[in-house]
């Protein structure tokens, strides 16, 4: 049944055959493989899918895995090295052990704690920062170090950069629609107001493309990442948010939307009303009421709607991370974006472990991981800039 070796031989013969470098034997293998109805169908599907079945998921960043593998090598080397030292130093360690055991003044617990939190010191909480790209392709860094500056956009809109903020003043005469993009990197967050008065909070690793003034019939923006919107009411002009999987239409509401590329998009409505549909199928439209949460996954076009306690999903903009029965995988994703670290699960089942917690997001990561570790369900350690979960 699973004769992988045979399959590989077929694959090899097939590629050679198609490249015109096959031997008689390859030809025979391919021809007898294609004789089977199922294989023929598969082969035709592959050919006619214009790259749909293959080459669709090509954008893997191998550097992370490469580093992980090299870390493993380094650990092994170190272990070998330590083993040698261990034998030599065994007697000394035993002596120190006896000393600490009988000396009441050595408080092992607090020094352990310090060592533990210290390993996370390379990672710091995020701060207000973003990169503004104008319609002319110019890029400006906005953070506490940037100086004031005024830019006049192509449609006459004034863009004012002031320290950590940016604001837009529309020139009402303009008819054309000009776009800007705000790109918040990992380790960042950013809040600003659009020219229509809509307030936007952007979470780490988020990109929002929006018109500098809303001259058109609708107010339309494109989001990749997580944002909280307080949309200014305008019954005449719908506010439309496009994400990888879903499209949201609103008139004036407050809601959180988390739509990172490659992940499900999750809309949580706090106030007002949202009309939402799967990007490629308008018939999937649902209407959300306050307290509703809609999940659109990339792989199926079904929209799942449920009632939630919205505070867990908007806590990030209040300076907290709040979790209620949240899988560790999701928590790690959020923390990694905020503190900008890489991480790795050594056991896949830990990904699904559920945690309920309320964490202060401006705290150092050492504190955060101490809290999570105190649950006794999971442990963390830092190895060469990667947090290992074990």
């Amino acid at each position: 049944m699973h004769n992988t070796e045979e399959l590989l031989k077929i694959a090899e013969s097939l590629t050679k055959y198609l490249q015109g470098v096959s031997s008689e034997q390859d030809k025979g293998i391919v021809e007898s493989w294609l004789k089977k109805q199922k294989n023929r169908e598969f082969y035709d599907r592959l050919r006619s899918s214009s790259g749909d079945l293959i080459l669709k998921h090509n954008n893997y960043d191998l550097s992370r895995a490469r580093r992980t593998l090299e870390n493993e090598f380094a650990i092994k080397r170190r272990q070998r090295y330590y083993k040698r030292i261990w034998y030599a130093a065994a007697s000394i360690i035993i002596l120190i052990g006896i000393y600490t055991l009988f000396n009441p003044f050595v408080n092992t617990k607090s020094s352990d704690y310090k060592d533990y939190t210290a390993q996370f010191n390379d990672f710091i909480p995020g701060k207000d920062q973003a990169i503004l790209s104008t319609s002319g392709g110019e890029k400006f860094v906005i953070d506490s170090t940037s100086s004031s500056r005024q830019i006049i956009e192509k449609d006459g809109t004034t863009v004012q950069i002031d320290g950590k903020s940016v604001s837009y003043k529309a020139n009402n005469k303009s008819k054309s629609v000009v776009y800007n993009t705000i790109d918040v990197p990992r380790n960042g967050e950013f809040k600003f107001t659009l020219s229509d008065g809509t307030v936007v909070w952007l979470n780490a690793e988020t990109k929002l493309t929006f018109p500098v003034s809303f001259a058109g019939n609708t107010r339309e923006v494109i989001l990749d990442g997580e944002a909280y919107f307080e949309v200014a009411h305008d019954a005449q002009k719908k506010f439309i948010i496009n994400t990888e999987n879903s499209v949201l239409e609103v008139k004036g509401t407050s809601f959180n939307i988390k739509a990172y590329k490659g992940e499900s998009s999750i809309t949580t409505l706090v106030e007002g009303r949202v009309d939402l549909h799967y990007k490629y199928d308008k018939s999937t439209a649902v209407i959300l009421k306050p307290g509703d949460q809609a999940i659109v996954s990339g792989s199926s076009n079904e929209i799942e709607v449920k009632q939630v306690d919205t505070h867990y999903f908007t806590a990030w903009k209040e300076g907290y991370f709040a979790y209620s029965e949240t899988p560790l995988d999701e928590i790690m994703r959020q923390l990694a974006r905020w503190y900008d670290f890489e991480y790795r699960f050594t056991k896949m089942e830990l990904k699904d472990d559920l945690f309920t917690a309320r964490l202060k997001k401006y705290d150092s990561p050492g504190k955060i991981f101490t809290v999570l570790e105190e649950t006794g369900k999971v442990k963390f350690k830092v190895e060469k800039n990667t947090i290992i979960i074990y």
Partner: protein
């Protein structure tokens, strides 16, 4: 740290065998060999895992763990083929285990187990064909290669021009030359790229 981010193009690991890894018996515990195997086979294992799991990130993690596992086990492989067999089988088993633990079953799995397993088998062939295509793309000069890869990601010529900071005409020229070269090197395999 503030750097202006441009889209990253990750060209995957389908390289040509270096002199180090010849088709003769080797052990996977050797660091150099392990690195080489990683470069050669990581990408296709991801493609294969992704066709089972339908989750890029998860596929990546499972393949990463598989490589570490295989390295730690220090397996004696009589040939490259036997390593590939081991890798695909490990990824397949780990993926099945994961799905089972999460009690996710694809509807096709429920309906007809045998048919589902056959289709999984076929995905190995797809992953291998893909690897050959990527190998040939990898051999293109850098500018052409970037254009082709961004194109495969569904970007328009204009978007690619902007991304790479080139003029539209230059991008078009690169694209044309790239396709010409690929048509020559891939022959009939080229149809999978259209």
């Amino acid at each position: 740290m503030m750097t202006v981010q441009i889209k990253k193009i990750y060209l995957c690991c389908v390289k040509i065998y270096s002199s180090y890894l010849k088709d003769r018996p080797f052990r996977t515990g050797d660091e150099k060999i392990s690195k080489e195997l990683f470069e050669l086979f990581f990408k296709r294992a991801c493609s294969f895992a992704n066709s089972l799991l339908r989750d890029d990130q998860l596929a990546y993690d499972i393949v990463q763990e598989a490589f570490i596992k295989i390295w730690k086990k220090n397996i004696l492989c009589p040939s490259i083929i036997s390593f590939k067999v081991y890798l695909y089988n490990t990824v397949r088993n780990d993926s099945y285990n994961y799905l089972q633990r999460k009690s996710i079953r694809h509807s096709d799995f429920e309906n007809n187990k045998q048919e589902y397993e056959e289709s999984v088998d076929q995905m190995i062939i797809a992953a291998e064909i893909e690897a050959e295509l990527l190998k040939q793309i990898h051999l293109l000069p850098e500018a052409r290669r970037n254009v082709i890869l961004l194109r495969l990601e569904g970007m328009s010529i204009e978007e690619i021009a902007k991304e790479l900071g080139l003029s539209v005409n230059t991008v078009k020229a690169h694209k044309k030359l790239a396709h010409k070269q690929l048509r020559e090197s891939l022959k009939d395999l080229y149809i999978f790229l259209l």
